[in-house]
Amino acid sequence: MIKTIAFILLRLVATLLAVTFLTFAMVALLPGDPVDTILGTAQRDPAVEEQIREDLNLDDPFVVRYFTWLGNAVTGDLGSSYITDQPVADTISQRVPVTAQLASMAILIAVIVAIPVGVLGAYKQSRWQDTTSSAAVQVALSIPNFIVGIFLIWLFAVQLNWLPSSNWSRLSDGVVDNLKTAIMPSVALALGAMALFSRLIRSDMVATLKEDYILSARAKGLSDRYILFRHALRPSSLSLMTVVGITFGALLGGTVVIETLFAIPGLGFSLINAINARDILLIQGITVFIAVMFVIINTVVDLLYVVLDPRIRRS
């Protein structure tokens, strides 16, 4: 097992290096002079131009620039936005808790809904409960989440007036207010994940239910519900956990549309604003952050898998 863990960690470092290198390259190899992008071509102060050249190390060879940037990035210095002059790292650290909360809530909702749906589908395989629920799940998977968001706003904010239609109340300002602003976007995000999870659970359970030990449990006279939730669900939990981890990482980058729609100050919203304003350093910073988080989360899931899966542990 130690060998496996070592291998995973080694792979993590290599992937991180590659990911950061690619992100840096993507931005650094932009067509055109970065100074043009930043300052525009209107009247330019040569002193300012010199300053930017120095700041960005534009005169150094590419690899040197990468390592300088990487060194800075590791200590938390991702540069400052040329538009707002605020440090990129500060902007990111303000936005992360928001997106993280959205992603967590979305997954929680998805799991809570997916387990009964998936179990039901496996239990009543090919009967009307199965086909109906899998059809419903399919439809949920097919509707783009921004449409769901629009509908939710129309229903709960405009018509019923139960929830605020936009913006975010920070957790530090009160849990209830925070939940009120978080619930609709989380539900909109949860739909796709819920469909995914329920399909996974269902097919895993279908396979599990064919196993012998289930048969013996039934022969023992245990109730269906007991068997379903205590015996059959457990083997699926590992793959579910895997997928949850990956989905969380994916959601970190996948909240762009929902955040824009609900005006929630998360990573996605910042990214889109940065893209529209051509705020190169912020685009770079956010992309790197999300990519690195994604890799780390996947690695953590891998490690957990090694630790928890008895099949691997034994080998």
Binding site: T4, M26, I147, V257, I283, A291, T299, V306
Partner: protein, 340 residues
Amino acid sequence: MATTESGFEKTEETLAANSALTARANAAAAADFEVPPGVEQPRQSVWSIFKEMPFLVKFSTMWLVAVLFGAIYAQLDVRVFNGSLPLADPNLILSGFNPSTGEFGTTEALEGPSWAHPLGTDALARDTFSRVVHGSYVSVIVAAVSVICGVIVGGLIGSLVGFVRGKTETVLMAGIDVILAFPALVLLLALISILEVRSLFVISFIVGLLSIPTYTRVSRANSLAISNREFVTAARAIGTKRWKILWREIIPNVLPTLIAYALVAAAAVIVVEGTLSFLGLSVQLPTATWGNMINQARRDIKQNVWQVAFPALALTLTVLALNQVGDFFQRRSSHRASSL
């Protein structure tokens, strides 16, 4: 999995097969895509396959055919027949000055469905039905290009890697993992905005590139399993050249599952294009895409909700249909395998 391999390789293999990143690819098909299909079966005719389908899948297939037909028809109309086919001009603003008649039109914006305009008119008084049909072209291209990219490149790499193993595998899969590590949407947004591309084919190509890793993972998992089957071992024993084995035995058996997966992936890609349009980063207006139709119509949703509903419905139905058909083929190929 073979028992002759060393403990480390087996661990790695198990790990790889179970790793989070593989699971992501597999999760989309709920682990069913891993099952190898087995020996070649006699080809069935398309019609007999169609007859096999449950009603919902039949309906989905017909819808997909309709979408494809619509895309082709619309393009023919524009490129070959110069608009003379019986489909309204999707960009003609019917309420404004019509240069060919020299008069102002009488159609209003945001009209409801009528005989002249089956799905009504949009905010610029353009025929919505025609725009939906033309919009299918964009979805078809995005789906087709990304699927072709994925199946060809991803399928090849994955099949090769699963068959050959060794250093090639380590190197290639490491590269694939790196691409997989990027959150696709973020990378897509960044690339498209930085490169400032609005060409349909370039956007589809970028989407295709980003989806290669998942195809690779799926085909690799299949290829791994097939490579350990008796008929491959037998072929190797006879001394068949490796590329021949790859071409004749491995790939044809990877393909069915891969294509089944591709259908589901195509659905996801179409939604991605919708999201890009929604954010204003897709194909240039005035080209109609389902995504930007939804986005434009949203501004007038209080006047006429149907203009949002129709393209949204087209999008949802297409995605649904692709999922249904993809599932059907996946079930079919796994049944055939397990029936051995």
